[in-house]
Symmetry: C2
Subunit: 384 residues, 2 copies
């Protein structure tokens, strides 16, 4: 096992009707900026529950946050927060709304260009406290310190992590997600699955508990994912997927083990250039990346084949290929296609992205820092 | 899945040489009360590492804390902390030292008889901050809010949980445990195993992720426990057991599921009356409790038999009995005996403890609150 620091202070309030806990979790005299997305919360009753729980606190709203939240729009939110002397942020929505809100929290008291927080890893000092009501199980942002922001003008999408932007609390009520379009749930399953794989399918460091916990999440997603798509109002299936999504990226399964994250790095470029959903990029990249890197991931791929997919007979190489094929089939079975052509992306995408990564200096991807731009091109050509 | 709140803010610093992190984790101007046990830390180099890391901070020491820490002794520590205006507590030792230190943290600013914190669940307001250097993987106290204190004069042993006594941080360096006597490691394996079972072997509530994570801990203890006993300085084996012990009782596997804890309740009485080690009492009680409650635990016992012990053939009742037998054998194989007679406890212990529990009003043990004093007597007679 590798040495590690693990720290996750997020308080999770999980279950039916937990939105009412906001009344206890947010200071009674708080000046709240409530952030949300396209307005689905106004149709599914979540908005009303939140407003009820906030009672007579001073609340300013900032809605309309898009998937892959854009710097340009968030600058406006930062100015509103400053002008109104907001002292608590409440994100109500999916990973994009929460990511955006973490960025706002870091930026309100930041002097200078807020983009530097991402692009230059500029240190942040005073961060606004935030809480979340997560209405889309996917990114795990409700229980971690990460946020990803896009700068539209330069087509850059940058991820950042900072201890100071952990939500103080997150409300996870599976019932708030019943009315989501299937596409969001499909994406969430693939996102949580890939988060887990990025922290698991690397090389062995004698960490049996972390391995088994990662396998637990993968097995549960394989089992519960199709159930929750077939029966969107089955409370337990949705609750299980929702808890998997939070556990997949809260730091726990990644503590003390190597991590990959090349699939995410390549995927972010696909989203920035071709506007694919985040999870669609993961479904496109991951299987072929596993195929290209199968030698350096050999031992863990074999373990994955056996423990997650039950493949223990036949020669090792075939088991590995079958496990990758089953992964591809799983993504497609939950409704996320795995070929670039399906999304209308040109066959030269590999070349373009490889060049872009090279220009950014991102030439050392993966747990061995050995995924080169030409590997990236190869992966994307195979995913055509 | 049941509704739940999960919150665990403990920062874990895991690995070789992590004791040096104390220099960053404890305020530079802190007045520290350093608590420890029988002095083994002075022989194995831990004391020196801690003193080095604390630098020129003002440090008062309170050593000699026994296993099953006694109220009578801790009153003295509380008075020392008050007299010296201590503002940070550092526990260096095993679960008993950490439990004692949590109690001291809660009691220093408590007005009235500190025993009321346990016996009357008296509310505590201002708690001293604490950190730990855990040198014995077992109780999980380094990553939770629980503490157990014994009042010698009345032979009472009471457990308590409070959000305010979470350690701010815990240092887990497996190397600090290499010199422990085998008996402590054996006990730690049984303790962590039983903590997991208390939160797992109840009844199904459709919580596949929690179930699999619990099974992950059990499987890892079964695999790594014998390794670390055979090779005490095998870093990875010890690290894996150490991480299992913390994960077994940090709230995670118990989130959203029913919990039992009858084995612990009965075990505490055995320790209070007959001075058995905590883990010895668990090894005595758990297998027979599972046997007596097999009907109400049927579905989960069957799952345990299959997933943890690989028993999927034959009739269900036999599988369950074999899983219980394998549990017994596992405890004995790691060096903890499972019969009261082995510890020289009279055959009338069942009767005495059943009466004592009845007198305390503890007549509703277990996840169904249906373990009666006569069940307790039956369990202990079967464990004779």
């Amino acid at each position: 096992m590798q040495d590690f620091t693990f720290h996750n202070p997020v308080k999770i309030l999980f279950g039916k009707g937990q939105i009412s806990s906001l009344a206890q979790e947010i200071p009674a005299n708080a000046r709240v900026l409530m952030t949300y997305g396209g307005g689905s919360i106004q149709r599914n009753g979540v908005y009303e529950q939140v407003v009820d729980a906030l009672g007579d606190r001073s609340v300013i709203e900032f809605g309309g946050i898009d998937p892959n939240p854009k710097l340009e729009m968030l600058i406006e939110a930062i100015e509103i927060a400053r002008a109104n002397e907001v002292d608590f942020l409440l994100a109500v929505g999916g990973g994009s709304v929460i990511d955006a809100t973490k960025f706002i929290a870091a930026a309100v008291h930041f002097e200078g260009d807020p983009w530097d927080i991402l692009a230059k890893r500029a240190p942040i000092c005073s961060v606004l406290p935030l809480g979340t009501v997560i209405t889309l199980p996917a990114t795990g942002s409700e229980m971690n310190r990460f946020f990803v922001i896009t700068k539209e003008v330069t087509q850059e999408k940058i991820a950042c992590g900072n201890e100071q932007v952990f939500p103080q609390f997150s409300v996870l009520d599976p019932e708030t997600t019943f009315s989501l379009p299937a596409r969001h749930i499909s994406n969430g399953i693939v996102d949580a699955f890939t988060h887990t794989v990025e922290q698991y399918l690397t090389y062995p460091v004698n960490s049996p508990l972390q391995d088994r916990m990662a396998e637990s999440i993968l097995q549960t997603l394989i089992e519960e994912g199709p159930k929750t798509l077939a029966h969107p109002t089955d409370y337990d299936a949705r609750a299980n997927v929702m808890w998997c999504a939070a556990m997949a990226l809260n730091g726990l399964i990644g503590a003390g083990v190597p991590q990959d994250w090349a699939t995410h790095a390549i995927g972010h470029e696909l989203t920035a250039l071709y506007q694919l959903d985040h999870a669609q990029t993961l479904a496109v990249v991951l299987p072929r990346l596993l195929q290209v890197k199968q030698d350096s991931k050999y031992a863990k791929l074999l373990q994955y084949a056996e423990r997650v997919w039950g493949l223990s007979a036949g020669d090792e190489k075939s088991r590995i290929m079958e496990a990758i094929e089953l992964t591809t089939q799983f993504f497609e079975s939950v409704g996320v296609q795995t070929r670039l052509s399906h999304y209308g992306v040109d066959s030269n995408a590999g070349q373009i992205i490889a060049k872009k990564l090279e220009k950014q200096g991102a030439t050392n991807l993966g747990e061995h820092q050995d995924i080169s731009p030409s590997d990236v091109e190869k992966i994307l050509v195979m995913s055509a």
